[in-house]
Amino acid sequence: MIYFDHCASTPPHEEVIRTMAEVMAQHYGNPSSLHRGGLEAKKLLQRSRGLVAGLFGTEAEEWVFTSGGTESNNMAIVGAARRSTARGNHLITTEIEHPSVYDTFKVLEKDGFRVTYLPVNAGGFVSLSDVEAALTEDTSLVSIMHVNNEIGSVQPIAAIGELLKTRRSILFHVDGVQSVGKLPIFLREWGVDLFTASAHKVRGPRGAGLLYVRNGLQLEPLMAGGGQENGLRPGTENVGAIVAAAKAFRLAVESQEERSRRMQRLRSRLVSCVQDIPELVLNGWADASGIGGSTEAGSHASHPREEMSPHIVNFSYPGMKPEVFIHMLEKHRILASTKSACSSKDDKPSRVLQAMGASAARAASGIRISFGDEHGDAELEWLCQMLGMVVGKLKPLERKDQRE
């Protein structure tokens, strides 16, 4: 099987599995205990935190270990919104966020917060001017993802951060679950206040995530308990998973440049292969490093540059149920996904593709291919061949009325 679903989850490194097993076996002490075993476990947490902080040019105290991306996003958004009610109750996010952000804002709306959901253009990008126009006197939080998990558009985080620097009271949260290890990240330079990362997206263990909370920033905790993680995340720390996650993050960040370059090549190969099959429509811009070659006409004045993350390609087969496509591919040893894994079981069209202005047929037939470290030219060749073959076989079953 060739696994092209790295955006959903990744195969953990052998050494990550070994680290986790060894730490679990040797350091079962509770980090809050006073005895030597507890102290040693606590030190492992400190070392992990220091390692993670160093990878992002930050301080150890600024990182909270969580159970994963969903928890980090909830903790950041709810914690910041509730803490800043004195500053205002208006929040800004986008139409294309991951459910763990989008649905969290829906909950906050029920609690009485006012939320602006920013639109995106045909390529899947929010515009700086829309962000600026949405800001009000009451705005207390802006939450914008770095890389979109369905189509891979890279949001202009640096430019938005720059814009928000002039409005110090507005907090800036970035969901970086899909960008860590794929793109360079500069939290300090960009003026990011809160940043989410997840270990199992970078070949680490499940159940381990990170939340960066800029020094001096206070969040309202979601849970009450034993005061661990600075009171933000009570509960006995998952030491084995945290150490293993720190290792996975180190490996991912240290090899980021090389990985980006390699995946960039794979992406252009796959994009041109999709463009050669007339039944398929590429979602997002074609060129990974900027505009141009888009399958859809649309204005995309290049300010700032609109880039696609190198590890994601998304396309639609309008008129074809994507599940059928996925099952056909699996028969030929290819594992891909529809929409994001979290919502792929429901039948509704993709909220992200709809936000980009895609027709109902196109929005309901998205297929996502996402790359991992084990992929090379051979895997790509096979994938391209199979795409053509599967489309050929499915062609007679197309629902013509849904073709554009």
């Binding site: 060894e22 730490v23 102290l39 030190k43 492992l44 070392r47 293993a244 720190a246």
Partner: protein, 406 residues
């Protein structure tokens, strides 16, 4: 203007006639140590100064390290050019254009050390100043409080142009003023006392008293971490002597002299420190005492406690306010460690009402009645565990677990 050299000015020790050569050699050694990671950078020694030639090495990184070197009074990023009027004027202008923020006022200060240069200092002030003014119409001269002082030094080997003067740590090079023992408790004050002593050129060995199981393993690690921080400034390993004080403390506690317990403990500590000093050829004991801060630091207490040793007691913080001590602790990076909540052996036995004015005779009499006190002191000295803490060594947290887990 991109600096290609760093000019380093020495501190007060340049005033000392006979030892100056030795001090300057130490300084040269220290600066060479800072430059060790940058093989392309070179350092040259002239009268009362050092010049680093960067040769592409990063100024910012080196500057950060230089700020920590004791004995450096100040330093400046400079450009060296040929002593030629036109070149001096052009480089001066280039410097003015490269400032991060355009100044409103400036002045030119020329020092002509090389008397063979055809124009003297006042003439040069005018020649350079007028050139800059012509090119920058918004700029004005203000000789009293200029925003930017453009400095030009005409030396025999060339002309140095700069405007920035970065304050250094000052003091004397580490270890040029003898050696002393530092009583290091783990609190806020003693590391600051250690830092200020080192800054004055004292070489230090640290002594810590623990009372396991009354004190915890974390308290010990806290002291190791503080010593590690101090070693960052010494630039060489610092010895840390760990003294087990449990037995003596228990004996003192059972003498039923609660108000005097701290006085008695401090006296025994000084005796042990003196024994260590003799072994290490140290000629003084440094403490973090600050007049009146706690009961054992009143003049009356210090009188009775201090008499237990014949060595000079050096108390760098004696006349400082707590806020000032905390400020220094924050600057030198010991504060966060010092306030970790682990008990040391003094805080643990603090009586409800400690005496602020102990009587020497009474104290001596009580000590005479404690069986085997001298022997216990001997044993404590014999049982000392000495660790050498290397600058840049990893903390226990940084070294936790197996390296291949991370």
């Amino acid at each position: 203007m991109k600096a290609d050299m760093i000019l380093i000015r020495f501190g007060e020790f340049t005033l000392k006639g006979r030892n100056r050569g030795q001090f300057e050699r130490r300084m040269l050694q220290k600066v060479k140590g800072v430059l060790a990671p940058f093989p392309d950078a070179a350092v040259a020694h002239t009268y009362g100064r050092l010049y680093i030639t960067l040769n592409g090495a990063p100024y910012e990184t080196i500057a950060k390290e230089l700020k920590l070197v004791f004995g450096i009074h100040s330093f400046s990023p400079v450009r060296r050019i040929e002593s030629d009027l036109e070149m001096i004027r052009e480089t001066a202008l280039e410097l003015m254009h490269s400032l991060p923020k355009e100044p409103v006022t400036f002045k030119v200060s020329v020092r002509r050390v090389d008397k063979s240069f055809p124009y003297d200092s006042p003439e040069m002030n005018h020649l350079v100043g007028s050139h800059v003014l012509r090119a920058c119409p918004n700029l004005k001269v203000n000789v009293r409080e200029p925003e930017v002082e453009l400095r030009v030094e005409i030396q025999p080997e060339g002309t140095y142009i700069f405007n920035e003067v970065v304050e250094g740590a000052g003091g004397y090079p580490y270890g040029t003023n003898g050696k002393a023992m530092l009583l290091l408790s783990g609190g806020i004050d003693s590391p600051v006392a250690g830092y200020l002593s080192m800054r004055k050129g004292l070489e230090l060995e640290a002594v810590h008293f623990h009372s396991y199981p009354f004190t915890s393993e974390q308290a010990k690690e806290k002291v190791i971490e503080l010593t590690r921080r101090l070693a960052h400034y010494s630039g060489v390993p610092i010895k840390l002597h760990m003294v087990s004080f449990t037995e003596i403390q228990t004996a003192l506690a059972s003498s039923n002299q609660e108000p005097l317990i701290i006085t008695l403990m401090r006296r025994s500590m000084l005796r042990i420190a003196q024994r260590l000093a003799e072994q290490s050829a140290a000629l003084g004991i440094v403490t973090g005492d600050s007049l009146g801060q706690v009961a054992s630091q009143t003049l009356g207490s210090m009188n009775v406690i201090g008499r237990s040793t014949e060595l000079p007691l050096l108390r760098p913080l004696i006349m400082m306010d707590k806020n000032d001590i905390i400020r220094i602790a924050e600057e030198i990076g010991t504060y966060a460690t010092s306030i970790l909540p682990y008990e040391d052996c003094c805080t643990l036995f603090v009586p409800k009402s400690p005496t602020t004015n102990p009587n020497l005779k009474v104290v001596q009499k009580i000590e005479a009645c404690i069986p085997n006190l001298d022997k216990m002191i001997e044993e404590a000295v014999a049982g000392i565990e000495t660790i050498s803490i290397t600058p840049g060594a990893r903390t226990t947290a940084e070294a936790a677990g197996n390296d291949d887990w991370f």
